[in-house]
Point group: C3
Chain length 464, copies 3
């Protein structure tokens, strides 16, 4: 069996002088609490505190990073328990036999970290160790110490946000609030299902939004009121932010009568070509205006071509690893919104991209000018060692640190949360150490900055 | 008070062997004269040699890098003396209190360098040291040693180009020529105001161009003649170059009758959609043809979406830090111009971009083929340590060094000139040291190249 | 004379600990055989085994990297023997006098390697050494040891693919097969001339394709059959792959009656605007379907704007260094093809790009999901030290190593083949060493991976 014990210097620069600085910075933040202002953990976990069932259900089947990599190398979805009921131990063995595929990927860093720090497994996962891992993880999952709320405490989480549909009843958030558990779990208002005319069941969703709120969502004014009402419910349960997943960063600021006419078309399924995109664009500006009023921080995750494979979507559903990024235009796209409310100090709009070519060209110049803008951390495919370094290298010289929003783990994989924050902290220490050794920052400045990068900026940007 | 003395090894690589090579290269060029073939210093300074008034007027209010960063963090323009008459000491204190925002930005490198080398201030600027800095800088500015021509000499400037409207009377350049001062200050022909139909006052500018030159600028032929006449005046005062700031790199080479018809439309404010862009595109090719004739080196600065915020533009004017880059297409855009005159050895066209994704994909392949093309140094947001390294890493393998045009400081901030050249020289030494230590260049080759990168290539590209 | 002996540590990282790991990895693969699954060597060499004539004909005149660099610095094509019969020694002297232009380019690495390892010349090429080099190379070329088949053996080539027109009679490949030489030289089916309606002589090419195959290429069905027939001929002579050079990555999957109508238009030269692009796009999907049937691995080289200068094309022909990359959209472009056959395990489609911004944004996510996709190595301008590092850094974290296709030298310059593989192996060792020293991979994993990166992945991807 191969020893895979995490090295204490992992992700630190090779040069000994630089590494020493990184180590000393990391010592300061390694054990700071985790602030997780954006992510996709299941509210059921926090509300009901159930046990997880087995290693395959925890680490493989729901993880689109893992599933897509195995599929890309010819493993059928069905063999991974997707689109078929498959024995979880068989799924796990298949995963273990292919674990070498993850060499040099962030998934490997996250998984090894979880195996070791949550389950005490320090060997390399492989065909040989598959059953041993499966059994050990299974046994641990049956204990109290591995139930969600216990993990929250073990992980040192200070606050965590979930991401919730505008149509969600937030029962689990209510359960947390009404419990005697001290964890801070807050919802995030994600209205895509009621904002995107191309979302499955959009017109039904509008009707449902009307029922929930008592607003007349057949009219533009009533529809906007319904959003306001739902936002208020989210705020009441602790929400500090909204989140918007859009294929592009296009925004519009139409005169209200034109917006109402556009709504009339899309809400009756009578949109012309371009109307769906126009409506999403208009709604970003409307949501920004609501944020000015109610104080919810706005997040925009733009640029993913969701469900790129029709067959995978039809047969296996959403979020199976077949969402592919495309070019994204922030400079032109955001202009209508920014002209409407971009100089208003009450607004915070946090931008995320999958198009790294926009970091230095568009996002840093925009965030380095408009008071409302902050840059979210590297997202999805870029939530990685190299991705984080590229982000810092391309963004910092123009936008500084204060125009960034700290780290988000953005995950539905609970056990990866400490690993992801660990990686982010290490990369930030590596980046600052490089600044110090090249005399762009003093060591004192780096020590003053690292707690901000770790949690300070996130708490400030998200009002947490 | 915190010591902020510049470290002699700043910006050199961390690895000791690589650093030693960088140091030895830098020793060769550290004190070479400054050649500044493109920039925006005020000709009044050189013609009249006035005293600067105070630290805020020198370092804060006119510096769009500084102002936009403070605005991005919620400081109102008015508090920075923009759009309001504000006590300069109050402006300075506000700037000093926010100086930490500039950590890890080029502005910090430039400002610290100027504070120390021009004013002898080696502490870190902060709320605590604000008044001390303000007073010391103010006292120095009152002396002869801090007047523009004295700074030119102290900075070791060998030649500097300003950037001047086609409508400028060049009186200050004439004053320099007619003075007994030995500084070499040359104008640069920047005709945007008379070439871009979307420029404020375009039609008035055409009329004015006619008055100045005696040409009939209501006709296409007369309009072109007017440009020829103005270029001749610039040449007479030492100009060696033109400069063109365009939103895109589009060029056109229309038949002359179509070009004349296009001019007729835009000059009468009767342009159709697309005419403004077409006219700018056509004029780049016309200007290239004029350069073939009169020998002026042509510069194209493409890709800035100027005045992105309507409100900032309306209330505070141009150049306030709200110009945001956008994607730029050089491969398709330049083709008509290059087909017209791209193989003519009499033309030099220096390209600048804000879209780094074009470095390796478009600019290096273009410059590594067409004899007329040279690549300008990293521009604006990319005039930075990381930006310069990215430029060299992406461009050199395809275009070599000889197809680049050396360094431009491109600044209106006089005291930052030595700092900017210092940064560029250090980064080039770091880059070459990296080449040497990985045995891609010999140390002798690096020593032969570094003076070229420092001033040789700039003098050659700009005929200075 | 300047010593230019290749340093054994060239291209390895500066940090001593990292360098030591790179050295140890390289020791394992330095002398492994060369597998060259994609390239442009002349089949005549392998079929006839002629002598090369002189240094200029071998190293300068046919090398578009060399010619374009000299042209970019003002050397006329004619002086380089292009478009004029020029004394080869004069061409060589001109090249030698400008050899400094190649400092820090891959061409320098390749040429120095060839001079030293093939011809034993360890001085730096320059005006001074020009004649000495010319004579020494000329003398060597007259010997048996420098004939193509001998070089194949000296270079340790295990298999090499050429790239051949769909209209080629493959006589030289037949000659190799029927000879007693043991070299493995296989053709690659490149049908651009019969697939791209904008290719010179397209309609004549269709007629010729009909003649060769006996298929009725005036009909859509007959035309597709003709491709099938030619592919079968290629397969019979050892081909394992096809190759497609397209200006974009656009694909289409039209209903067959629409495809037939489109073919009818373009084959009669009656295409509407957009038809040529649509036909190329449709044909990629048709070729993918044929690959599903006959097992040929498909390669797509997308994104070059060929013959950017009309004058150079008209006067000096194709492949003169005036092909310029442009932005390429894989996410949208490939979707129709991938929806048609992207989940079929019988297909392998290897993607190449000149637009590095697609590495992390599009190509790695696509290859990390679709089972048919593999990523080809950095192509053309990016076949370089920095280019290869960027590729690994941007691709690996999302796609892993197994979704890449190993190295291609992709060259028509026979003597550069060992040099190119040497560079690729060194960069991969440098990359893996960096992974090891930052504890992202164990040293054992790196040792297990390096033979795969060297030849294993290439053999697997290309079925060689």
């Amino acid at each position: 069996m191969i020893d895979a014990t995490l090295h204490p210097d992992r992700l630190f620069p090779a040069d000994p002088a630089t590494r020493a600085i990184a180590r000393s910075l990391f010592a300061k933040v390694e054990h700071m609490p985790i602030v997780s202002p954006h992510g996709h953990t299941d509210p059921t976990w926090w509300g009901d505190n159930p046990s997880f069932s087995n290693a395959a259900d925890l680490f493989v089947i729901p993880d689109h990073y893992v599933v897509r990599m195995l599929v890309s190398q010819g493993v059928p979805f069905e063999d991974l328990g997707v689109g078929a009921a498959t024995d979880p131990r068989a799924v796990w063995r298949r995963f273990a036999a292919h674990y070498h595929l993850f060499a040099a990927t962030p998934s490997r860093l996250w998984l090894d970290h979880a195996f070791q720090t949550v389950f005490g497994l320090t060997q390399r996962l492989s065909e040989t160790t598959a059953d041993m891992f499966y059994d050990a993880i299974g046994a641990a999952l049956a204990t109290e110490a591995c139930k969600p709320r216990a993990l929250y405490d073990r992980f040192g989480i200070e606050a965590i946000a979930t991401t919730d549909s505008a149509l969600d009843d937030l029962a689990h958030h209510r359960a947390v609030r009404d419990s005697d558990w001290s964890g801070r779990v807050v919802p995030t208002y994600r209205p895509d299902a009621c904002v995107d005319p191309e979302f499955d069941g959009f017109t039904d969703n509008l009707a449902r939004l009307g029922e929930i709120t008592g607003c007349d969502t057949t009219t533009w004014a009533g529809y906007l009121d319904a959003h306001r009402a739902r936002r208020a419910c989210f705020i009441e349960l602790g929400a500090t932010a909204t989140d918007h997943g859009h294929p592009t960063a296009a925004t519009l600021d139409l005169p209200q009568d034109e917006a109402a006419a556009l709504f009339a078309r899309v809400s009756r399924n009578a949109g012309a070509p371009g109307d769906a995109e126009a409506f999403r664009a208009q709604m970003l500006t409307e949501m920004a205006r609501m944020s000015v009023d109610d104080g919810l921080v706005m997040q925009l995750h733009a640029g993913s071509s969701r469900n790129h494979s029709d067959m995978v979507h039809a047969r296996y559903g959403r979020d199976r690893g077949f969402d592919i990024p495309a070019r994204t235009d922030f400079t032109g796209g955001l202009r209508p919104l920014l002209n409407a409310v971009g100089m208003d100090s009450r607004l915070t709009l946090i931008l995320f991209t999958l198009d790294e070519s926009t970091y230095a060209r568009e996002l840093a110049p925009l965030a380095g000018a408009y008071p409302c803008l902050r840059l979210g951390p590297p997202w999805w495919f870029h939530d990685s060692y190299e991705g984080m370094l590229r982000f810092r290298e391309r963004v910092t010289e123009t936008a500084g640190f204060a125009n960034t929003a700290g780290f988000n783990d953005d995950t539905r994989a609970l056990c990866s949360i400490p690993a992801r924050h660990d990686v982010a902290r290490r990369v930030d220490c590596a980046f600052l150490a490089q600044q110090v050794v090249t005399h762009r920052l003093s060591e004192e400045e780096a020590h003053a900055l690292i707690p901000d990068l770790t949690t300070g900026l996130a708490k400030k940007a998200y009002n947490l």
